[in-house]
């Protein structure tokens, strides 16, 4: 045979010298590998760019400029304030008066416009009123308050507002900044970590200093709880049925097409659905994390189902055969062997699906979770599900739309919290996924 003689007469190639074709193939190999590395690098680069810009814009939200003052209220003043319609503004006035007199006591050598003090302070009346309503025994004794300065003063310390950019407005005069500096020197105005941002709740648009994301974190928490508890089991169950049990017929084809189609349904349409079905038809409460969770569950399901099905499909048939061969039922085969092998893909779907759900705003718009919603922490578990609450992305979205730059900064701060929430939420899934990953 010719071929044999051909092969036989060929000179033995050395392994260390690479022939032209191999060199070409190796170059292709290197390129291919480089593409992969580049792809990852691009992905990570974008992540870093995004992370840096988020952190840069958001970190200031975690500090707050505060005004420290010892403040005493008399019973008379208290009664007077309580008798007014806008009680909080009465407290605010008292507070301003107190601050003004203390400045003189401290012998501050700056001349200032009395109205300036009003401009320096944030909205503090609510805090003061709440304090005295809870501690009526403190009336008449001096109390040390640390209250938020106004958004612009805060911005001045964070570099958001500078002497050059300030234009006289009714929110802040250029001349006020001298007073601010003076107060800062004597320690009446200081910067502190903004716990309130982490634990607080939303405020009106004129009170950026008081705004916090805490309550909406709880809202998101309850919402994601619903999403996780419903979408993971339902998604996995549906995938198992479709991939392992469903006969090949029009009905299962219908389900299959439906599921992939649901993935393409814009999230706001799920909001329309939620409004119609859960609120108008089933009479579930409006603005409730429960409803938000249900809507997001429907939105997340396709992601989980599609990834779960793909991973179930990837389990080699020989594993199923082996189990069936020792007399396991199909159900047992799936739950004992196939599912564990598909677990990484399922968890990936869950991670991505939940990440999407966590950041989604549009459907919440229609079921009433966007706006000015959450004012108080839920009282218990049930209340956590059904009482009106917002969610982190919704809160961020509303803040981002507000005029005051202080809210804009808070929106980015909120994004940082959201991402921390996301990472915490995912970490368990990621660890689990690593444990299940193996090749066979």
């Amino acid at each position: 045979m010719t071929d044999i003689s051909m092969g036989g007469s060929a000179p033995k190639s050395s392994l260390t010298t690479v022939d032209a074709r191999t060199r070409k193939r190796n170059a292709a190999e290197k390129r291919f590998r480089a593409y992969g590395l580049t792809a990852i690098a691009i992905g990570l680069l974008f992540l870093i760019v995004l992370a840096v810009s988020i952190i840069r814009s958001g970190v200031p939200a975690f500090t707050q400029t505060e005004v420290h003052i010892d403040f005493t209220i008399t019973q008379e003043q208290f009664d007077d304030a309580e008798s007014q319609m806008l009680k909080t503004s009465a407290y605010q006035k008292l507070f301003i008066a107190a601050l003004q007199s203390q400045l003189e006591d401290r012998g501050l050598e700056v001349s200032f416009d009395p109205a300036a003090i009003e401009r320096l302070l944030g909205k503090t009346g609510g805090t003061i009123r709440e304090y005295y309503r809870e501690n009526p025994d403190q009336i008449g004794t001096p109390v040390r308050f640390e209250l938020a300065a106004s958004s612009r003063v805060d911005g001045y310390f964070k570099g958001r507002v500078s002497r050059d950019t300030v234009v006289d407005s009714r929110f802040l005069m250029v001349s006020d900044l001298d007073l601010v500096d003076a107060l800062h020197d004597v320690g009446i105005i200081t910067q502190a970590f903004n716990w309130n941002f982490i634990t607080g709740s939303d405020t009106g648009v004129d009170n950026p200093g008081g705004a916090g994301i805490g309550v909406s974190v709880i809202g998101s928490f309850f919402m994601m709880l619903v999403v996780l508890v419903l979408s993971l089991p339902i998604g996995v169950a549906a995938s198992i049925y479709l991939e392992e049990f469903a006969p090949q017929n029009w009905f299962t084809d219908l389900i299959e097409v439906n599921i992939s189609n649901l993935a393409a349904v814009p999230s706001i349409v799920f909001g329309i659905l939620g409004l119609a079905v859960f609120i108008q038809f089933m009479h579930l409460p409006q603005s409730a994390p429960l409803v938000g969770g249900l809507v997001l569950t429907l939105m997340t399901l396709p992601t989980i189902i599609i990834s779960t099905r793909a991973s179930l499909k990837a389990v080699p048939p020989s594993i199923r055969e082996a189990a069936l061969g020792v007399g396991a039922s199909k159900m047992q085969t799936v739950f004992h062997h196939v599912l564990p092998l598909a677990a990484p893909g399922i968890l990936t779907g869950t991670i991505i699906g939940l990440a999407q759900a966590l950041g989604e705003t549009a459907p919440l718009l229609l079921i009433g979770m966007v706006g000015f919603i959450a004012r108080a922490y839920p009282e218990g578990v049930v209340s956590g599900f059904v009482d009106p609450n917002s969610a982190m992305p919704a809160q961020i979205y509303t803040w981002a739309a507000r005029a005051d730059a202080g809210f804009y900064e808070k929106a980015w701060g909120g994004i940082i919290i959201l991402l921390i929430f996301l990472l915490t939420m995912n970490i368990i899934a990621i660890i689990l996924r690593r444990r299940f990953e193996r090749r066979w």
Binding site: S318, E321, A322, A323, G325, V326, G327, A328
Partner: protein, 266 residues
């Protein structure tokens, strides 16, 4: 030619029919892989299926415990009865069937789990052990019967997929034996085994025969002659001849059988 007169059991005559297959046809899509096969498999007997590669031995074997159900394009026709029950009947639970009719596959397919769990899985789902100690016993016994105990006893928690080819094969035999099926279908169980291990497995088969029916596919005429009492010769999807092993190997009726065992057709 091979003769193994000392094994044959035609004299006994007492065995019942365990599996009765009648006019079985199997199609893979358009490919007619098994044509009109009719065969009675006796209880307490070792039946060997022989025939050239691709003739349909595995296919037929898989019909007997409905493992073909898992192949989408595979279609089975005809009548197969085990202990008189039609196994393709609607009411038959294929799971129960497979618990009764165990199988060792041609390609060893250990679970990606530990060796211990590979064996323990079957007994566990069949509730064969009340406690850990009993399970340990079962696992050890199965591994011993699979002639692999000595090699793995120190690494029972190592993954079953990290074994050598022959070890995997024996593991799969042990796994099948562990559930104590009434019929054991073995598709080339010794293909990756050295002579000693082969002998041990053959011993196992002989032992199993005391109580169960065993069907074994093999390419080794010697092995067929050694272990089986009945032999079926398949060729191009047809069951050409089925008879006592001694008969087949000494005095085949069909010329194709003769050609095959003397090594002339493949």
């Amino acid at each position: 030619m091979y003769d193994a007169p000392h094994y044959t059991r035609q004299e006994t005559g007492v065995t019942d029919v365990k599996i009765k297959a009648q006019d079985v046809q199997v199609y893979y899509g358009d490919n007619h892989a098994i044509k009109d096969v009719t065969v009675d498999i006796q209880d307490k007997t070792v039946t060997a299926f022989i025939g050239p590669s691709g003739c349909g031995k595995s296919t037929f074997l898989r019909c007997l415990n409905r493992m073909n159900d898992t192949i989408d394009i595979c279609r089975v026709e005809g009548d197969i009865r085990i202990d008189g029950d039609d196994i393709y009947d609607k009411r038959v639970d294929p799971v129960q069937l497979r618990a009764k009719v165990g199988m060792v596959f041609q390609k060893p397919n250990p679970f990606p789990k530990s060796i211990y769990d590979n064996i323990a899985y079957g007994p566990r789902i069949h509730g064969m052990a009340r406690n850990k100690a009993e399970m340990d016993d079962i696992v050890e016994r199965a591994l011993r019967r699979g002639a692999i105990w000595d090699e793995v006893k120190d690494r029972l928690q190592a993954p079953g997929t990290g074994l050598s080819g022959g070890q995997q094969q024996r593991l799969c035999i042990a796994r099948a034996v562990a559930t104590e099926p009434e019929v054991l279908l073995m598709d080339e169980p010794c293909s990756a085994l050295d002579p000693i291990a082969t002998a041990q497995v053959e011993e196992l088969i002989d032992e199993l025969r005391q109580n169960y029916a065993v069907v074994i596919v093999t390419h080794s005429m010697q092995q067929a002659a050694r272990v089986s009492q009945k032999t079926a010769f398949f060729h191009l999807g047809n069951l050409v001849e089925y008879d006592d092993t001694s008969k087949i190997f000494t005095n085949p009726e069909d010329s194709r059988t003769e050609s095959y065992i003397t090594g002339r057709i493949g």
